[in-house]
C-alpha cells in the first residue's frame, strides 16, 4: 500500500515538475510580458523605468533557473502570489471556488446514478426489447453530443422558453439542477451500457440459477445478488473516468457561468493571469493524486486477485 502511494506521488510530482518547468520557460519566453500585463490593467501609459522597476521587483532579471527555483519554493509552500487580475491571493480564490466545483461534480454523479442504474438494469433485464434499443440509441448519441451543446439546449428549453430553472450563477440548490443534469447526462451514456453488459454477465452465472432453484423471488435475486455482483467493474471504470469528470466540469462551469475553479481558471487563461493558472495546476495535481491513489487502492480492495498476481510476478 505504501508502495502504491509513493509511486503515485512520484508520478504526479514528475508531471508537476515537468509541466511547471515547461510552463515557466514558456511564460518567460512568451510574447505577452506579464509586467506589461500588470501595468496595463488600468489602460494607463507607463514609463520604461516603471517597467524595469517592477521587473526587478518580480525577479525577472535573475537567471532563468534561479527564477524557477525561487518560484518553486513558493509553489511548494502554497504561496502562489497574488492574482494579476484581481490582486487577491490566488490560494484564497481557489479555496473559494472549490466547494462550488465539488457540489457540481457531486450533483452530476447523482444524476449519472439516477439515470444509469435504472436504465442499465432495465436494458439488461429486458434484453433487446424496446427499452434496450432506446438505451442503445441514447448511448450512441450520448457519445457524439458535445456536453456544452446539450447544456445549451437545456438552457434554451428550461431557462429561456419555460422559465423553470435558473441558467447561470450559483444561488442555492436550484441553480445546480441544470449544470448537474447536463454533466450527469453527458457521462451516464457510458455507464448505462457498462452496467447492462456487466449485469448480463452476472445474470448468466451459476449462482443466479442456484438462487432461482432456492426459490428466491426475482426481485430479491436481482437486487441482492445480480446487481451487487455487477457493480465492481462499473466502479472500476468509474474510478478511471473520475478524471474526465473533473475535466468536464470546466466546460460546464463556463457554460452556466458557475463560479467554480473551472471557470476561474478559464477566466485566468483569457486574462493571462499566470499565478492563478499555476495555483490551479498544483490544486489539480493534488486532486488527481488523491483520486488516483484511492482508485488504485480500491481496486485491490475490490479485487484481491490483483494482490496475488503482484506477488507471483515478483
Amino acid at each position: 500500500m505504501l508502495q502504491i502511494v509513493t509511486r503515485k506521488f512520484f508520478e504526479v510530482l514528475f508531471f508537476v515538475l515537468f509541466i511547471t518547468f515547461v510552463s515557466f520557460l514558456f511564460v518567460r519566453l512568451a510574447p505577452g510580458d506579464p509586467v506589461l500585463t500588470i501595468l496595463n490593467v488600468d489602460e494607463l501609459s507607463v514609463s520604461q523605468e516603471q517597467v524595469e522597476a517592477l521587473r526587478d521587483d518580480m525577479g525577472f532579471n535573475k537567471p532563468l533557473l534561479v527564477q524557477y527555483g525561487l518560484w518553486l519554493m513558493n509553489f511548494i509552500q502554497f504561496d502562489f502570489g497574488l492574482s494579476y487580475a484581481t490582486g487577491q491571493p490566488v490560494l484564497d480564490m481557489i479555496i473559494m471556488g472549490l466547494p462550488a466545483t465539488i457540489e457540481l461534480a457531486a450533483g452530476a454523479l447523482f444524476v449519472m446514478l439516477l439515470v444509469s442504474i435504472p436504465l442499465g438494469s432495465l436494458s439488461a433485464l429486458y434484453r433487446n426489447s424496446w427499452i434496450d434499443q432506446i438505451s442503445r440509441l441514447l448511448s450512441i448519441l450520448g457519445a457524439a453530443i458535445p456536453s456544452f451543446w446539450l447544456g445549451l439546449i437545456l438552457i434554451d428549453l428550461f431557462g429561456v422558453r419555460l422559465h423553470l430553472l435558473p441558467t447561470m450563477g450559483r444561488d442555492g440548490i436550484i441553480s445546480l439542477v441544470l449544470p448537474s443534469l447536463t454533466l450527469g447526462l453527458a457521462i451516464s451514456s457510458v455507464y448505462v451500457r457498462l452496467l447492462r453488459s456487466s449485469l448480463l454477465d452476472s445474470l448468466s452465472q451459476e449462482f443466479i440459477r442456484a438462487s432461482r432453484a432456492r426459490g428466491l423471488s426475482e426481485s430479491r435475486i436481482f437486487f441482492a445478488h445480480a446487481l451487487r455482483h455487477s457493480l465492481p467493474p462499473v466502479i472500476t471504470v468509474f474510478g478511471v473516468s473520475l478524471g474526465s469528470l473533473i475535466g468536464g466540469v470546466v466546460v460546464i462551469e463556463v457554460l452556466f457561468a458557475y463560479p467554480g475553479i473551472g471557470k476561474l481558471v478559464v477566466d485566468a487563461i483569457r486574462q493571462r493571469d499566470y499565478p492563478l493558472i499555476q495555483g490551479y495546476i498544483l490544486i489539480m495535481a493534488i486532486i488527481v493524486f488523491i483520486v488516483n491513489t484511492c482508485v488504485d487502492l480500491s481496486y485491490r480492495y475490490l479485487n484481491p486477485e490483483m494482490k496475488l498476481k503482484e506477488r507471483e510476478t515478483k
Binding site: A143, A144, W149, V251
Partner: protein, 282 residues
C-alpha cells in the same frame, strides 16, 4: 459453430454501418474541400444590414448576428474543426508510433524513461492537461492542437509498445535478427504491420473525442478564436441570439454530432475488425 453464427450478422451489420459512415465522411470531406475552392460568400465579411436573416436562395441557412452567411461558415467550420482534429491526431501518431516501436523493441533506458513519463502524463485527465497547457501557452487553436498532441501521443506510444513487446518475443523476429536484419528494418517490415490495426482502432475512436474536445474548447474561448468559423466558436458567438434565432444553435451542434457519430461508427467497425482481444475472448 454457434459463436460463428452469432458473429457473422454482427460483423455484417457493422460493415454496413462502416460503409455508410465512410461514404458520408468522404461526401462531407468532398463538400468541405470544394468549399475551399469556391466560396459564394466571404465567411468573415460582416454586413449589418443583412443580419439574422431567415432561409433564402441566396443564404440557404440564413445569416448570423453579423450578417455572415451561415452555410458558408458551417462548411468552412467543418474544414477547421475536422482539419485541426486530424492534424492533431496525425502528429500524435507520427510521434507516438515510432517512439513506441523503438521503446518496445530496444528496451533499455529509453524505454524506462518513457514509461515513467507516460505514467505521469496518463495520470492526468486529457481535458485537464489540455487546459493546463493552453493556459500556459495562451488560448488559440494552434496551442490547443499542440496540447492535444502532447496528451495523445503517449497513449499511442503505449499501445504500440505493448504490441511490440509481445510480438518481438516471437520466433519470426528472432529469425529475422539471426539473419542479420537491421533493427530499423525489423521494426518497419515485421513489427509495424502488426501495430497498424490496433493503432487504427484507437485513432478512429479518438478522432471523435478530439473533435468534441476542440469544439468544446473553442466554445469556452480557449480554442479557435472568432471570427474564425469553427463550430464550437460559432456556437459561442451566436449564444446571445439563440432566443430569437434558435437555428444558429441547432446547425453547428448538429454538424458536430453527425460528424462525431460517423467517426464513432467507423471506429466501432475497426474495433470489431481488428480487435485481437475480442476474437480471443469469443
Amino acid at each position: 459453430m454457434t459463436g460463428l453464427s452469432i458473429r457473422l450478422p454482427r460483423a455484417k451489420k457493422h460493415r454496413f454501418q462502416a460503409v455508410t459512415a465512410f461514404v458520408f465522411l468522404v461526401f462531407f470531406s468532398a463538400v468541405f474541400i470544394y468549399t475551399f475552392l469556391y466560396l459564394r460568400h466571404d465567411p468573415t465579411l460582416t454586413d449589418l444590414d443583412r443580419r439574422l436573416l431567415g432561409m433564402s436562395l441566396q443564404h440557404p441557412f440564413g445569416t448570423d448576428q453579423l450578417g455572415r452567411d451561415v452555410m458558408t461558415r458551417l462548411l468552412l467550420g467543418g474544414q477547421q474543426t475536422i482539419g485541426y482534429s486530424l492534424l492533431a491526431l496525425i502528429v500524435a501518431l507520427l510521434i507516438g508510433v515510432p517512439f513506441g516501436l523503438i521503446s518496445g523493441y530496444q528496451r533499455g533506458i529509453v524505454d524506462r524513461v518513457f514509461m515513467r513519463m507516460g505514467d505521469a502524463f496518463l495520470a492526468f485527465p486529457d481535458t485537464i492537461v489540455a487546459i493546463v497547457l493552453s493556459g500556459l501557452l495562451g488560448p488559440g487553436i494552434g496551442n490547443l492542437v499542440l496540447a492535444i498532441v502532447m496528451v495523445k501521443w503517449v497513449s499511442y506510444a503505449r499501445l504500440v509498445r505493448s504490441t511490440v513487446l509481445a510480438e518481438s518475443q516471437k520466433d519470426y523476429v528472432l529469425i529475422a535478427r539471426i539473419n542479420g536484419l537491421s533493427p530499423r528494418k525489423i521494426m518497419r517490415k515485421h513489427l509495424l504491420p502488426h501495430v497498424v490495426g490496433h493503432v487504427l482502432v484507437l485513432a478512429s475512436l479518438d478522432l471523435g473525442k478530439i473533435i468534441l474536445l476542440i469544439s468544446a474548447f473553442s466554445y469556452i474561448g480557449l480554442g479557435a478564436q472568432p471570427p474564425m468559423p469553427e463550430w464550437g466558436a460559432m456556437l459561442n458567438e451566436a449564444r446571445p441570439y439563440f432566443e430569437t434565432r434558435p437555428e444558429l444553435m441547432i446547425y453547428p451542434g448538429l454538424a458536430i454530432v453527425s460528424v462525431v457519430l460517423l467517426t464513432n461508427m467507423l471506429g466501432d467497425y475497426f474495433r470489431d475488425r481488428f480487435d485481437v482481444k475480442k476474437e480471443e475472448r469469443q
